[in-house]
């Protein structure tokens, strides 16, 4: 337990979901270009993920930035580890690093 209840909720979500994306909007209706890009990359790799729409929850929206000490959204967590925001995910994808990274973590990707 921490002093901030939002952090506890985030920690629980991170622990319970192998691939978790904090984003603006939903995967079907992203509300921000960076979130849309990240969803597109995950979808391209056929990765199953849970999305949290921070626009629906102001506590999570500010809490996630403190939780990960990262100032922007989207934020991707894999097996409890913060992997990065849109720029990092995009770079990993373009360099062909994202798929092996996910496989290493035991995440199913479509071939």
């Amino acid at each position: 337990m921490t002093a901030n209840p939002a952090h506890d909720r985030i920690a629980k979500d991170v622990a319970e979901n192998d691939v978790l994306l904090f984003m603006k909007g939903t995967p079907v209706f992203p509300q921000c270009g960076f979130s849309a890009m990240t969803v597109q990359i995950l979808s391209e790799l056929g990765v199953k993920f849970k999305a949290v729409d921070v626009l629906k929850d102001p506590e999570i929206r500010s809490g996630i930035k403190e939780f990960s000490n990262w100032p922007t959204i989207p934020q991707l967590y894999v097996k409890g580890e913060f992997v990065g925001g849109c720029d990092i995910i995009k770079e990993m994808f373009e360099q062909g690093e994202l798929e092996p990274f996910l496989k290493d973590k035991g995440i199913a990707v479509s071939e």
Binding site: F34, K65, W70, P71, I73, G84, C86, I88
Partner: protein, 77 residues
């Protein structure tokens, strides 16, 4: 309040002396930028750590005054 490309560049250079910083105003609206930062200080750091160093240089303005900064970092040899 938006930040100018010059302000962003100065803030990053101040925190990472000797870095090559290239700022592009993506939309021409003074609100959506791309930054390419090449610094020897990134050596041995993960991408997340490198990006955090740049965000730290912008001391809290990222996500606030600075809405959209697409960031790319690499290590200077």
């Amino acid at each position: 309040m938006a930040m100018s490309a010059r302000e962003i560049e100065m803030a990053i250079r101040a925190a990472l002396p000797g870095a090559d910083v290239t700022i592009t105003d993506l939309a021409g609206d003074g609100d959506h930028y791309a930054a390419m930062v090449v610094s020897s200080a990134f050596k041995g750091k993960t991408r997340v750590q490198q990006h955090k160093m740049v965000y730290d240089a912008l001391s809290g303005r990222m996500g606030g005054a600075l809405h959209a900064l697409s960031l790319q970092t690499s290590v200077k040899d």
